[in-house]
Amino acid sequence: MRLVCPVCGERDRREFYYQGAALARPDGSDWGPDWEDYLHNRDNPAGVTRDLWQHEQGCGAWLIVTRDTVTHEVLAVALAAEAGA
């Protein structure tokens, strides 16, 4: 598997660290179903998914990778700082 880092270009998977699903953080600090979802509940999609990866051994940037869990196709890689998690 190779990812195209927006900063470094195409690199091998070994340079990347996988964090998990890229979720929008709920607004506010009051506990509620949104926070419960954010902390504990994850979809397990057969299809398109958005994950957070870090180019740990490369430029250090956090990335949002859109990929297909069925075909293993990588559809898009964007800087988390610009795309918003």
Partner: protein, 195 residues
Amino acid sequence: MVELQAESPGEGRLPVTAGDLRLSEVVRERMTWLAPYKGQAAALSEAMQAAHGMGWPKAGRMTGRKGARAMWFGRDMALLIGPEPDPGLAAHAALVDQSDAWAVLALEGPGAPEVLARLCPLDLRDQVFKRGHVARTEVAHMAGAIARMGADNWRIMVFRSMAGTLIHEVETAMRRVAARRNSPREGADRAHHLP
């Protein structure tokens, strides 16, 4: 009183050679991390140009020349190699002294890309990784950097504490590459397929 002696990261372990390949330690220079503050990248580049004669390097590239170089070193990060940083740079960027933090080795000789290919997952072919290119990458499972200073002249950097491991790993790869190149049949076959 105890007399403390400064030692370089590869003291007593370098240089090593294998066939036409040579691994040696680069004479230590002042190295400073430059991390521009938000929105200050352009101003920093101008200040660098004025003070040191080189601008901010693009991702994966180096600017300047021997003795005063800026090496891209990560997202919004560069390494100033050679000069003492001009105090004026501090207005635009965080400066961190890295002079003693890194082991900087030079790998020279034909077949150097074959040695590096055994240690890192980069595409090092001539048409892809050219003189003046640099990459942060995994070097023998260590976080490091590889730069190309010339056709057969490469720099390998890892944190200083891992110098011994790096020297061992590179030397092992050098011996294996040299052995293959010296083997009459293999050598001829390989020479044919080199980029």
